[in-house]
Each structure stands twice: as C-alpha cells, then as structure tokens.
C-alpha cells in the first residue's frame, strides 16, 4: 500500500500570495492532520479533519484553512503569505479510532 503522499514537494512563493498544499492519506484512513515544522523546531499542529469535519485546530491565524474531500484527501490553504510561513508542512493520516499517525514526506514551502 502507498503511504501518505503530499504535493508538491517544494514550492516557492512571494509574500502576500496564496498557496494550496495537497495530501492523500493511506487507503482506509479517514482522518488527516496538518503540521507546520519550522527549521530546527518540532512540528506544530495546525488542523485535524475526520470525515470532512474539522475536529481540532492549533494556534494558527485564520490565514490558514483546510478542507477534506469525500475521498479523504485534504488541502491546506494559506493566504497572505508571510516570510515566517516558510516551513516544512507535514500531513499525517490515521484510522478512525487510532492515535498512530502516519506522516507524509512533507511539502517544503519557501516564502520570499
């Protein structure tokens, strides 16, 4: 089975632009979470979605939003990009009642 996949692998954007990152969970996994990992730091929780509903939200501004589709894939959107949004964005998927998260390789976002 394929693992969690994320696209694109790398992305360069300019301040003020908007970006959309994509994640496909492991087949059979209905929950997707998003994390931001700034260089030299641990991942910070952004969102968790289950069955297309937001189940959890971290301490991020409203510029960050996400959604989950009927096939359980997910998108993370960030508006009005700031230099500080430069980071590795990780997606993780789990089964319905499991806390064991499987992480994708991430999308490296650079904001210039």
């Amino acid at each position: 089975d394929a693992g969690v996949t994320q696209s694109p692998t790398h992305l360069i954007k300019t301040r003020g632009q908007q970006v959309t990152l994509r994640c496909s969970p492991i087949s059979g996994h209905k929950s997707v979470s998003w994390y931001q990992q700034v260089l030299g730091q641990g991942p910070q929780f952004i969102f968790q979605y289950y069955e297309k509903e937001e189940r959890g939200r971290g301490n991020f501004p409203d510029r960050f939003s996400a959604r989950q589709f009927p096939n359980y894939s997910s998108e993370l959107n960030v508006n009005a990009l700031l230099l500080g949004d430069s980071a590795l964005y990780l997606c993780a998927s789990t089964t319905a009642n499991s806390y064991e998260q499987y992480f994708g390789p991430g999308t490296r976002l650079t904001v210039t």
């Binding site: 969690v4 929950s31 979470s33 994390y35 030299g40 730091q41 641990g42 991942p43 910070q44 929780f45 968790q48 189940r55 959890g56 971290g58 990780l90 993780a92 789990t94 009642n97 499991s98 806390y99 064991e100 998260q101 499987y102 992480f103 994708g104 390789p105 991430g106």
Partner: protein, 113 residues
C-alpha cells in the same frame, strides 16, 4: 497549558554505546505519549507509543521508553546505538480525543564510529 520539553538539543554517542533521550511533558489529563524519528529529508516515523498499562514500552529498531507519571517523563532508551540511528528524535503528547497533538523541539543524535 500542554507542552513537551526535550532538554537536550543535541547528543553525540559512540556506536555501540547506550542512549537515553529525555522527554518531559505538561498535560492536564492522562496523556498519550509518542516518540518519532525523522531522518534528513524524510517524514516522521513512529518508534513507539504509550497509552496505558505497562509503563515500559517496546518499539521498533530496538528502542524502548518508560513512562513515569510522578516525573512527567517519557524517556527513550536504546542499549546499543547503531550508526543508522543518527537522526532527529521527537517526543509528542496527544489528547485522549485525538484532536490535539504536541511535539517537543527535538533532539539531534549524532553517532560516531
């Protein structure tokens, strides 16, 4: 407030030596605890987890961790380190409801021959 502290930013050990990585957490309820490893350019891989029961848990790659409620700690150990263990290690705590997850800042492990 929930938080995870990994006091050691960087650790260097000789191959074959034992390893202990420290993790302390602050959490208002019964925590679910995890250790992950991240190799350069790779995603996070789960090493082991603790939900309840036996406080000494075994994981993959020969790692184990011990949950000590009185010390709010969940330290990771390995009796004999291999060169391939060089990586970044993250401790994390999750909520019972599964909708919140907090990582520490990580410990970078270097293994010398």
């Amino acid at each position: 407030a929930q938080s995870v502290t990994q006091p050691d930013i960087h650790i260097t050990v000789s191959e074959g030596a034992s390893l202990e990585l420290r993790c302390n957490y602050s959490y208002g309820a019964t925590p679910y605890l995890f250790w992950y490893v991240q190799s350069p350019g790779q995603g996070l891989q789960l090493l082991l987890k603790y939900f309840s029961g036996d406080t000494l848990v075994q994981g993959i790659k020969g790692f184990e961790a011990e949950f000590k409620r009185s010390q709010s700690s969940f330290n990771l150990r390995k009796p004999s380190v291999h060169w391939s263990d060089a990586a970044e290690y993250f401790c994390a705590v999750g909520s019972i409801t599964g909708n919140q997850f907090y990582f520490g800042t990580g410990t970078s492990l270097t293994v010398i021959p």
